[in-house]
Symmetry: C2
Amino acid sequence: MSAIPQDFVRKTAQLSEEVTRPFPNSRKIHVTGSRPDIRVPMREVALTPTQTSADVEENPPVLIYDTSGPYTDPASRIDLLAGLPDIRSSWIGERADTEELSGPTSAFGRARQSDPQLAHLRFEHLRTPRRAKPGRNVTQMHYARQGIITPEMEYVAIRENMRLDELRADPRYAKLLRQHPGQSHGAAIPETITPEFVREEIACGRAIIPANINHPELEPMIIGRNFRVKINTNIGNSALTSSIEEEVEKMVWSARWGGDTLMDLSTGKHIHETREWILRNAPMPIGTVPIYQALEKVDGRPEELTWEIMRDTLIEQAEQGVDYFTIHAGVLLRYVPLTADRLTGIVSRGGSILAKWCLAHHQENFLYTHFAEICEIMKAYDVAFSLGDGLRPGSLADANDAAQFAELETLGELTQIAWQHDVQVMIEGPGHVPLQMVQENMTKELADCFEAPFYTLGPIVTDIAPAYDHITSGMGAANIGWYGTAMLCYVTPKEHLGLPNKEDVREGIITYKIAAHAADLAKGLPGAQIQDNALSKARFEFRWEDQFNLSLDPERAREYHDATLPHQSHKVAHFCSMCGPHFCSMKITQDVRDYAANQRIEDVEAAVAEGMREKAREFREDGAAIYKAV
Amino acid sequence: MSAIPQDFVRKTAQLSEEVTRPFPNSRKIHVTGSRPDIRVPMREVALTPTQTSADVEENPPVLIYDTSGPYTDPASRIDLLAGLPDIRSSWIGERADTEELSGPTSAFGRARQSDPQLAHLRFEHLRTPRRAKPGRNVTQMHYARQGIITPEMEYVAIRENMRLDELRADPRYAKLLRQHPGQSHGAAIPETITPEFVREEIACGRAIIPANINHPELEPMIIGRNFRVKINTNIGNSALTSSIEEEVEKMVWSARWGGDTLMDLSTGKHIHETREWILRNAPMPIGTVPIYQALEKVDGRPEELTWEIMRDTLIEQAEQGVDYFTIHAGVLLRYVPLTADRLTGIVSRGGSILAKWCLAHHQENFLYTHFAEICEIMKAYDVAFSLGDGLRPGSLADANDAAQFAELETLGELTQIAWQHDVQVMIEGPGHVPLQMVQENMTKELADCFEAPFYTLGPIVTDIAPAYDHITSGMGAANIGWYGTAMLCYVTPKEHLGLPNKEDVREGIITYKIAAHAADLAKGLPGAQIQDNALSKARFEFRWEDQFNLSLDPERAREYHDATLPHQSHKVAHFCSMCGPHFCSMKITQDVRDYAANQRIEDVEAAVAEGMREKAREFREDGAAIYKAV
C-alpha cells in the first residue's frame, strides 16, 4: 500500500462515499439460484401507498435490473485497492479444465510486472492468471454445446427473468403487468427465461455471456436478441488527458447509472496498469480494442505492426481478464479501395490502422490470416469476439455502402470460423445511418452473420448536431434495438468534439438506457412495462417521491422538480409547477372519476347514450341547415 | 414609454445584445419573389477552403432554413417596445376583403384596453384590429380554393425550396447534393416546391399556412406532410412563476434556435398583455389554447364555462393576431367514461376541463355543439384550427385506446366541417406511445382526418425517464415525423417536473430540430442532406470552425470542443482530443488516400485483385486444413 501514491488513496476514499450510497428508497436484494453461491443482485424500490378519500392501497415494490454491482450494497465493504469480491472462481475451478499459471505468459505482461518504475501505479493484489489446460476449451459456448448449464447461465437466467413468475402469481402486480403486445421483428423472447433457454441461445450463437476466466469479479450478463437490450459505455484516457483515477471513477459511475458492459479504449501511457485497476473493480464485462495497445508498442506506426506483437497483446490482455476483444479482421485489402470515393473515408481507428498496414505491406490483414490462431487464444480464456466494423460509415453519405457491407459479409465468414472453435461472437455495427436505412443494417447482419448478436454504435441519424450526438444516435439506437440489436454502444454529447467528463457519461448512459428500454417495450419483452406503469401510476397520484425513485435518474428528476418547487410540501401536494394549484388536469381527472363514481357510472352512461341518440338524430336532420344558417 | 417599467426596458436592452448577434460566419440573405415585397430570409454559412498538399478547393456556402427572424439581421433595428416590422399588411390590404375595426370587438379586449391599472404592462403601439368584411372569408385555404396564389404561398414556396434549383445548376454543389433515397410512407414531396404546389396542398387541406390577418409581422411558413417537418415550442407563465419579460425572451430564443411556431400556454395573470408583447415581436406563427384563458375568467371552475365566455375569448385572441387555436371539440360526453379505467385518466388540461364541464352539465361539449360558429370566427381572421387531442394518453399503458381513437374519429368529422368553411386545420396527436404503436397513430390520423396535417407532442416512448423526456419523446418524434407528421411539438427536460428555463428550451428545441431533420432525411426531402454532407466533409478535413458553424447549435459545439482543447491552434490542427496527435483515424485515412494516389490506384487495385485471387484459391484448397491444424 505504501507504493500507492497518496493522491490515489484519497481519490478512492472519496469515490466510495459518493458512489456507494444506495439509490433512494431502494435496497439491494439477491435472488439465490440452485446453489447458494448463485446470488443474483436486483434493486428493489419501495413505494408509498395510494391515499384516496375512502381507502389506502398498497403499492408493491418494483424490481429494477441492477448493473451497479456491490457499490450500491451497504452490506459490501468497498475497497478499490483490494478489488471487488471474487464470485466466480469456485465455478471456474470446479470445471477442472483450467490451470493456474506461474505468472503472465505474455512478454509484455512479464515486463510490466517486473518494472520497478511502475510499482507506484500497479494494482497491488495481482491474481495469478489462469488458462485452459492444453487441449481444453473453456468458453461458455463450448459448455453450452456440450449440454452443460453453467452457473453463469443460471445466473443470467435469473437476472433476465427478474422474478417475473413470482410477480405473475401475486395479485398486487396484476395491474402493473398490463403490457402492449410487441412487434418483435423476428425475435422470440419466451414468457420466462430458463437456464436451459440461455444454454440453447448460447449454443447456437444467438447470445453470448462475455466472462473471461480471469475476471472472476464479474456479475454475469447476457447479450442476445431474445434478452433485454444492453448498453455498452466507453471510457479511456488518451495521450492528451485523463488519469487512472479518473478512468476508474468513470467505470464505477458507469455501473451505477446502468452500463451493462464497458470498453476501455485507453490509448495513453499506462494502459496496462489502468486496465488492471478497472478489471479488478469492474462488476461488468470489460472489452478492449487490443490493436490500440499493439500500435503503442510500435510507437504509433501501423506499418510496423506484426502478428507477433498483436498475439502477445491478446495474451497479455486475456490474462488480465478482458472479456471481449474488438478484432478488425474484416478489413480486407481488397475492400480498402472501396472507401476511396467516400465522403469521410475510414473513420474507425482500428479500421484505418489495418487499412494502412495492408497497403503498406501489400498483404492481407494479418488478423484475417491469423484468425484461427486468435480463436485458439480466445477459447483458452473465454474471451468473446466483438468483430469490429473497421469500414463503418463516418457520415450519412457513406451509410450502407459497398465497403461497409463487404466487410459485414466477411464478419459472417469469420463468425463461422469462430463458432467452429466454440468461441463466442458478436458483430459490431455502425455508426452514421439515416433512419430509413437503419433496418437494412439489422436485416443484413442477421442474414450474413447467422444471427450472432449485433452490437451497434448508435447509429447517428443526422450529422448536423455535434454536441447533441447522444440524442441523434439515441434515435437510431432505439430503432435498431427494436429491430433486433442486442447491445447498443453509447455515445456522449462530446462525440466528435472532445473527451467526455462524468456528466457527459451520465447523459450518454441515460440516453442509451432509454433507447434500450424503448426497444424492449417495442419488442414486447415480458415485464418490460412494469416500471413504466408503476411510475405513471405514481405520477397520476401525485406520489412525487415514488415518481423520482422509479425513474432512470432519480437524482436529476428530483433536482429538476425542485428547481421550480423546492419546498418539501410541494412533493406531497396534489399539483405541480406546470399548472399551479387551481389548474391541474390530473387533479381535474380525479375529480371527474370521483364525480362519475358518485353518480353511479352506469346511470351516467345510460343518460349519455340516450342524450347522444337524441343529439345525433337532431344533427342528422338539422346539421346542414345549422351550418348554413350560421 | 414612460408607462413601461424600467426593469422591462433594461431587460429588453439586454435581450437585443444577446439575441441579435448573427450566427458565426453566417449572414442573412433575402431571396426576392415575383414582387419586391416578397423577401424570404435564409441564413448563409460561409465556409473556408479545403487545403490539400496539392491544391486549394473552394467550399461553397451552405444555406440554412432560418426561423430566427429579424433578430439575427444586423440590418434590422430591433426594438421590442415597437415590435417587429410589418411585412404582410400590404398583402392583406390589397385583397380588399378586410376592414379595420374601431377597436377590439370582444368585451374582454375592450375592458383590458381601457383599464388604467394595466397601462404599465401594456404594449404601447397597439394596432387597430382587422376583420373580414361581412360575408367574406379571408383564409389561405379559401384563396387557394379560388385558385389564388397569395404572396404568403409564394413566400413559403421560396422558403421551402431553399434555392435548390440554383444549387443543382451549380457544379460546386454536385457532391453536396448526393442524397440517399427516402422512404416516404406515402408522402409525395416534389423535386421543386412551386407556389402552385403550395396552393394545391392548401386547397385540399394537406397543408396550412397559419397567418392571422392581425399578425402582419409574421414570416409565413407552411405545415404539411409534403414540406419540411416543423417544430413547435411552448412557452407560458403560470400562476406560480414567470413574468412577461421572461416569456418574450424565451420567444426570441425559440426563434433563434429554430422553433417554427410557438404556443403561448400562459395561465397566470396578464395573459392578454403577455400575448400582445409576444405577438408584436414574433416572426413565427403563435398558437394558443383559448380555453385556458376562458377558465381564468371563471376563476378556474370548469363547470362555469359558457359558450359566450369562450366566444368572447376567441374573438379577443383572434383580434390580437393569434394564428392557430387549440380547440378540444372532440372531447365528447360519451367518450368520457371510456377513460375511467385508464391508468392515467385524462391528462390534457383542455380535455379534462371539458370532460368536467360535460359531466357537470350532462350536456355535450359546447365546443362541439358550437363548432360551426367557431368556424365563422376563424374564417373572419384566418385563424387555423389545431384540433386538440383532449383524450390523448398520459402513459404508455393508455396508448392507442378506445377513448383516444374515438376522439380522433370525431376530429376527422370536425375537419370536414371546418373545410366546408374553408378553415385551415391541423390535428393534434399524442403523447405517450411505445415505439411499436407509433405508426398506427399516423396511419389512423391520415385515414380518419383526410390527410389534414398531424401535429404531435413527442410521442414519449417510455415513461421511466423524467428529466430526460426531451430525449424519450425525441425518439418517438423522429419516427412519427418520418411516418408523416407535419409538425412536432417539442418537449423539454422539465416535462412532468417543472417549468422550463432558457437552457431547457434550448435542449428541447435542438432535440426536436434533430428529430425533424432526421425525419426529412428519412422521407427523402430533396436537398435535406446538403448540411449533413457539408458538415461531414468539414469534419473529415479538420475544418473545425466550419464544423461548428454548420451545426444546429454552433455555440455549444465550440464550447464542448474547447472544454478539452481550448487553444486556438487546436482548431486548425489535424487531430482532436479523442485520439491525440499520433492516433487519428481520419488522419490515417487521409494518409491512406495519399498513399493510394501516389501508387496510382489502378495498379494497386490490380495487384490486390491478383493477390486476392491467389489467396482465395489457397483458402479454398487448404482452408479446412489450416483451421484444423491450429
